[in-house]
């Protein structure tokens, strides 16, 4: 049904029909079967049996595919590596497949950012719904672009067509209040409906040079204060758009958090497993970007009682969520609303401190360091809520903490123990309250991050009264990730979870720790906190996942510094 016309027009009028899928599998039998199945779903299919070939195809035709499905075991490259590359360079949703359904593998997939993990034999009905991942990303992109205020409701109520329409004006428009946009969207719906591809943004390839410019700009501004617009201005790259930067910023944060995670995961937190953030509704901003599409849910959850969430959230999720963070980053930075508008922390401090965080990650790119420092915004919300913590707040905090923190730089003053720069932080937040309780994620790893974050924050907090509270949410979000969307609970592990995360720590724990607000949490940093006392499910803050747009499951996984070509 679908003629593979190449990549000229991404979609036909009837989304998801015409979805452009790239299938990568070295098994010829499966390749043939999948091709047939996808064609039956009315998708445009391109197949290849080598990972490198797939990357070439993707690079040649940027914006020529909507989604990638790849087997985990490829002869020329590890499927997870491919996954990372795709997420980083092309920012496309990637689905992993394997005949091996071992939890570890699945988890790894999620960590590396897969937005789903299918077990072979794959049924057609499983393939029919893969469009949701593409859709989700779009939504997040839209979100990012728009201000986060009250986005939850707005977004949630948006119809799919609107989202596509958003693409139209996403391209050029800068963030405007979500509400305003809503109206516009509605109007556009009618006419633009069904043709979202027309304004599809071209994907930007972040070359090393470009990325260096980006990092430089971020450092100049101060990680704490970064916002896509500011970065864009500083970078002075004429053809780059705000959205490009926003999305890259998200990834960057994600990357940092991942590094951090790796660094301090060893400690107890490893357990964090965020359940699928996307699935959770309540996931708060899901600090865990991992949660992949959590953001959406989170938003709606409104765990962010504090508008802060929006603002803070942006962050961390650099990677995958193309759009997600964009909005967020810009949002929080500039739009802190409500209580959080306080920009307390001194981002700069963070920068310097980041190092102290001890990034065990070591691999953390110094550039990232600068990230850490910024985010005063993040903390601003700290102020808010101590009270808030209870649930709603929690999420926020995490978000903030994380998002802001992502890069370790943040407050490291205190954290010496937390090696990881903000980057690690980011993972946390996605804690959703709800999930936290139930999810039992092993938030441990996150915790570390949080700790670092918190710590960082604490430093900041001191001045701003940022406290541990802030941290709490982070973990919560991770837990909330449970069940979101397609991501299996344990899979949604955010990048935070360092490889070593322990299994035991649940997000709740993390959250709780944070709640306590004391530095205790922070101290753990490396040690493997024991947040047992914090286990309140309620605490699990649901960091506004939506903010992070966790969907980028794919990139959730901790970045291997070595892999970060871009971020090197």
């Amino acid at each position: 049904m679908v003629v593979e016309t190449g990549f000229s027009s991404p979609r036909t009028d009837a989304f998801p029909a015409g979805l452009r899928v790239l299938v990568v599998d070295d098994d010829p039998t499966w390749l043939k079967i999948l091709e047939k199945m996808l064609k039956k779903c009315c998708y445009e299919v391109t197949t290849c049996c080598l990972a490198r070939e797939a990357l070439n195809l993707l690079r040649q035709r940027k914006d020529g595919y909507d989604i990638v499905i790849s087997d985990v075991n490829m002869p020329d490259m590890d499927g997870f590596k491919l996954l990372e590359h795709v997420g980083l360079e092309m920012d496309l949703p990637v689905i992993m497949m394997s005949v091996d359904g071992e939890t570890r593998r699945v988890m790894k997939g999620v960590q590396h950012g897969a937005c789903d993990y299918l077990l072979k034999p794959i049924r057609m009905k499983e393939l029919r719904n893969i469009w949701q991942h593409v859709f989700r990303k779009k939504i997040h992109e839209v979100r990012d672009i728009e201000s986060l205020e009250g986005i939850e409701s707005i977004h949630m109520t948006r119809s799919g067509s609107e989202l596509f329409d958003d693409e139209h004006f996403l391209g050029g428009e800068d963030t405007t209040s979500g509400r305003k946009r809503k109206d516009v969207d509605n109007k556009r719906d009618d006419k633009d409906l069904g043709d979202p591809s027309s304004t599809k943004k071209a994907r930007v390839v972040w070359t090393v040079d470009l990325h260096q410019k980006f990092v430089k700009a971020v450092n100049q501004i101060g990680y704490d204060k970064v916002g896509p617009k500011k970065i864009l201005d500083l970078m002075n790259v004429p053809w780059l758009t705000r959205e490009n930067v926003a999305s890259h910023l998200q990834k960057y944060r994600l990357y940092l958090s991942r590094l951090q995670k790796e660094g301090d995961i060893k400690t107890s937190f490893m357990g964090m497993k965020h359940s699928d953030p996307s699935s959770k509704d309540s996931t708060a901003g899901s600090g865990l970007h991992n949660s992949m599409d959590l953001t959406q849910d989170n938003v709606s959850n409104g765990s962010f009682s504090f508008s802060v969430n929006h603002t803070l959230a942006p962050s961390v999720d650099l990677k995958g969520h193309e759009g997600d963070r964009k909005g967020i980053t810009s949002g929080p930075m500039t739009e802190l609303k409500g209580p959080f508008s306080i920009d307390i922390t001194d981002p700069r401090k963070v920068k310097s401190s980041k190092i102290s965080l001890d990034h065990s990650l070591g691999s953390v790119d110094p550039n990232f360091a600068s990230f850490g420092s910024t985010d005063t915004r993040r903390y601003s919300w700290n102020e808010i809520p101590e009270i808030r913590f209870k649930q709603e707040y929690e999420p926020l905090e995490l978000e903030n903490g994380f998002s802001q923190l992502p890069l370790p730089v943040l407050q490291h003053h205190m954290l010496t123990e937390y090696p990881q720069p903000a980057a690690s932080v980011s993972p946390g937040p996605s804690i959703t309250e709800k999930e936290a309780t139930g999810s039992g994620f092993e938030v441990k790893p996150m915790y570390d991050e949080y700790r670092s974050n918190h710590v960082k924050h604490s430093n900041l907090g001191e001045s701003h009264s940022v406290n541990n509270q802030v941290f709490k949410p982070i973990s919560a979000t991770t837990s909330s990730m449970t069940s979101q969307e397609t991501i299996p609970n344990h899979l949604t592990e955010s990048e935070f979870s360092p490889k070593n995360m322990y299994e035991g720590v649940g997000i709740e724990d993390l959250q709780l720790c944070w709640l306590q607000g004391d530095y205790y949490a922070m101290n753990f940093g490396v040690q493997g906190l024991d947040c047992t006392e914090y286990n309140h499910p309620a605490i699990i803050s649901e960091t506004p996942f939506h903010l992070y747009d966790a969907p980028k499951f794919e990139h959730e996984h901790p970045f291997d510094p070595t892999d970060q070509g871009l971020f090197a």
Partner: protein, 149 residues
């Protein structure tokens, strides 16, 4: 042969394959994928499976004949075979691969060799049966009937 008789024979034969565990639900999926655009889809896919499996079995034989066996490699091949057999629903082959992988993990040479034999056997059986089924199909088509797939 009488068309109706042929058709019935085909149906019964296929049913027996399911019953005996040679084929599973996945095979039905393949049949459902076959349509006027791909009238020989099932046969094509199964042929691919045969080719791939034979290659893998040979690789396995070679790998296990080595002085110093590389179990990781053996395991990788078995894993591939498992994936491949799952694609057409060759259930018994798939199941025998599971046991095989366990032996690989244990680095148990004897166990692996036994499993290889078992996998080979299961593969031959399902191959023979599928080929017979395709023959019946051909006969039906020749007799003027439409594909029973």
């Amino acid at each position: 042969m009488d068309l109706v008789k042929l058709q019935r024979q085909w149906v019964d034969y296929r049913a027996s394959l399911y019953k005996e565990g040679f084929l599973d639900e996945q095979f039905t999926q393949l049949q459902e994928l076959q349509d006027e655009n791909n009238p020989d889809f099932v046969v094509e896919v199964v042929s691919l499976f045969f080719e791939d499996s034979e290659r893998l079995l040979n690789e396995l034989t070679t790998a296990l004949e080595q002085q110093s066996i590389d179990f990781k490699r053996v395991d990788a091949h078995v894993h591939q075979l498992k994936g491949s057999s799952s694609s057409i629903g060759a259930q018994r082959v798939q199941t025998s691969c599971i046991a095989f992988r366990n032996y690989c993990e244990e680095q148990n040479v004897e166990g692996c060799l036994t499993c290889l034999q078992q996998v080979r056997l299961e593969y031959s059986l399902v191959k023979t049966k599928l080929e017979y089924m395709f023959q019946l199909e051909q006969q039906i088509l020749s007799a003027g009937g439409s594909s029973p797939m």
